[in-house]
Chain length 382, copies 2
């Protein structure tokens, strides 16, 4: 079989040529070059994470494929005790092993498994870091991940089924995530928040509280890093503050949230324009980023070989994480809704609204100002 | 260790004496004599189920303990190919094996496993029938059950954590079941419906539709039998018709439902008395019984040795399944709410309201009549 050599970070891997050319679920060994940013961010986050630990960490990659992620973690993250590399395909493992050799990985640092990903996690638990990077939805792996993650451990979870989560296929979202998505200017953010709600459910059912350390939407995937803790009381607190519904007015762009267990207080009339409100959720209305982690990842950036896009994304998120609102505005939605004769410049908008940019949309911005105030100041700008 | 012999159905088992005396989670071999009704109903349902099949069925008991349930299934249900008996405790398996011998079970009819229940299910799938009978909540086993159940297979699931489900511990219910319970006259029914919603979520996320064949609340447990089918479109249909929220008026006892994805239509004002409505859910608002199964189980009753309580329960449910309303009324709640000078006789109430009794409460009844009509006719009776 014809092979292609790929360099990424400090890893050098060989994968079958057809895999790079045709990325589909059917490929035996899955290598997606667009995922380099995903892996850069994983390495950066883990470099921050290991500093918290007073001992080397134990890592699991249940869907390892070419093992490029495991190799990068082993070469680019200090203080990794061992990476458990699993794939259900023996063919994938053949390439994984070859790549481990190619990168001169110490065999004592890895353990190779050929199991169903969930059986693997349940039999080898517990791990300080688990990476779930499937083709499509991660739901198949969430229960075992919640069970196999060690106290104060981190899970990095990818979802490539962004279409259902972002309201292109709302029925699929209802079935798979038990939440209603929405078509509006920040539908990707809503999709990411629905994904986090789903992840949270699996942890909460076992009385495990979680914190979102980092999350983003990039090209055709969502990615979330959650850290788990202990304590049912803490879960109760997070349920109250971080799980809810989004309320949204398609007429005037008003947005608000209501806690999951406080539907009694729901008023479906827009408080600004009186139109009927739409809703999305249940979803995560808590923070999408831990600011210390974002800063830490930026500090680690010069120490690894990374994609330009990784840096760009991180720098926007650094700004964005300072105003963690639920939802953001876009210039085009404002222009269309309020029939503005022209669109204001984003720079001016950020200034008059004390706003921050968002990585979800180049023309988007977040602000803490009241909705009416936003509209007035935008109108005054044009 | 001192042993006790127990006869139940056509099974004879020996369990350690202390187990019968002190039923706690810590017991090595778990035998709960109050569960005889649970096992009677399991055998009856399976006797109906096997008639649908043109081949012998494959059964799994992932939490087998003394194996009394497996033994009863093997002795009392025709056309069982094999029962996979699993327990994580070697001590429990020691008794299970002894009991299999004591009952002269053909060794070719059983396969013994000593694994984590979820690993066992994932490694041995698929099954026509899976029985989940844990101490406490079944949530730990739902993901693997959804993955391991064969097309047109049935899962029988017990929950003994009725206190959270029935609003004694509402925060635990939120964490564990992602639903709000409610304190009212039919809180047990709400608890059962929340449990079914949770079970449904695990199946729906894999595009698997389910039907509730039979369910009930008895002493300190809830029990649900679901049958799985195929087809995402069918899941969409069930989401629409069978998942929703309960709306409830604590002032006038009005109750209604609203579909899960139609919160836009929510009005939190009681349409009867104008009071603020409370809510519960999301929960299962679909049918709790398949009437053909209920009839079939009653027909099988004379063919097995059973508890008197089993017959009593089944006969009430036969009546109850004819009016599958969400929620029911109780005489005491009506009396208290409407300050009735005396309580009408249940017989008279059933007559004037064309009602049916409910197994959830001796003083409860279901009716299809409009809420206002119910109140008027009740008032006219006293």
């Amino acid at each position: 079989m014809s092979l292609v050599r790929i360099e990424e970070g400090s890893a050098l891997v060989e994968v079958p040529k057809k895999v790079v050319e045709h990325i589909t679920e059917r490929n035996e060994v899955f290598y997606n070059p667009a995922m380099a940013v995903n892996r850069d961010l994983t390495v950066l986050l883990l470099r921050v994470f290991v500093k918290e630990k007073d001992r080397p960490i134990k890592v699991a990659e249940p869907l390892a494929a070419s093992a490029i992620r495991s190799i990068r973690i082993l070469k680019e993250v200090p203080n990794v005790e061992k990476v458990y590399i699993n794939d259900i395909s023996l063919d994938a493992l053949k390439y994984a092993k070859r790549n481990l050799e190619l990168n001169r990985i110490d065999p004592a640092k890895v353990e190779i498994w050929n199991e169903d990903a969930n059986v693997f996690l349940l039999k080898t638990k517990y791990f300080d870091y688990i990476d779930i990077d499937p083709f499509g939805t991660p739901v198949d792996f969430l229960d075992a991940t919640a069970k196999a993650l060690a106290h104060r451990g981190v899970a990095g979870i990818t979802a490539t089924d962004t279409a259902p989560l972002s309201a292109t296929y709302p029925k699929t979202c209802l079935r798979r995530y038990f939440a209603k998505p929405i078509e509006n200017e920040f539908y990707h953010e809503v999709g990411l928040r629905i994904l986090i709600k789903k992840i949270a459910e699996f942890f909460f059912q076992y009385d495990i509280p979680i914190e979102v350390l980092f999350s983003y939407s990039y090209l055709h995937h969502f990615r979330v890093f959650v850290k788990r803790y202990r304590g049912a009381r803490r879960v109760d607190e997070i349920m109250k503050t971080s799980i809810g519904y989004l309320l949204y007015c398609h007429k005037c762009l008003y947005r608000g949230t209501i806690p999951f267990d406080r539907l009694r207080e729901l008023d479906t009339t827009c408080p600004v324009c009186g139109h009927k409100l739409d809703f999305a959720g249940p979803l995560w209305v808590g923070k999408l980023w831990n600011e210390q982690y974002v800063e830490g990842m930026l500090e680690e950036l010069p120490h690894i070989r990374h994609q330009k896009e990784t840096e760009k994304l991180l720098k926007v998120i650094r700004e964005e994480s300072k105003l963690q609102t639920v939802g953001f505005y876009t210039l085009s939605a404002l222009g269309k809704t309020f029939k503005l004769p022209s669109l204001p410049r984003k720079k001016d908008v950020l200034k008059v609204l004390s706003g921050v940019p968002t990585h979800f949309s180049g023309e988007g911005f977040r602000t803490n100002l009241d909705h009416k105030e936003v509209i007035e100041r935008i109108k005054a700008l044009v």
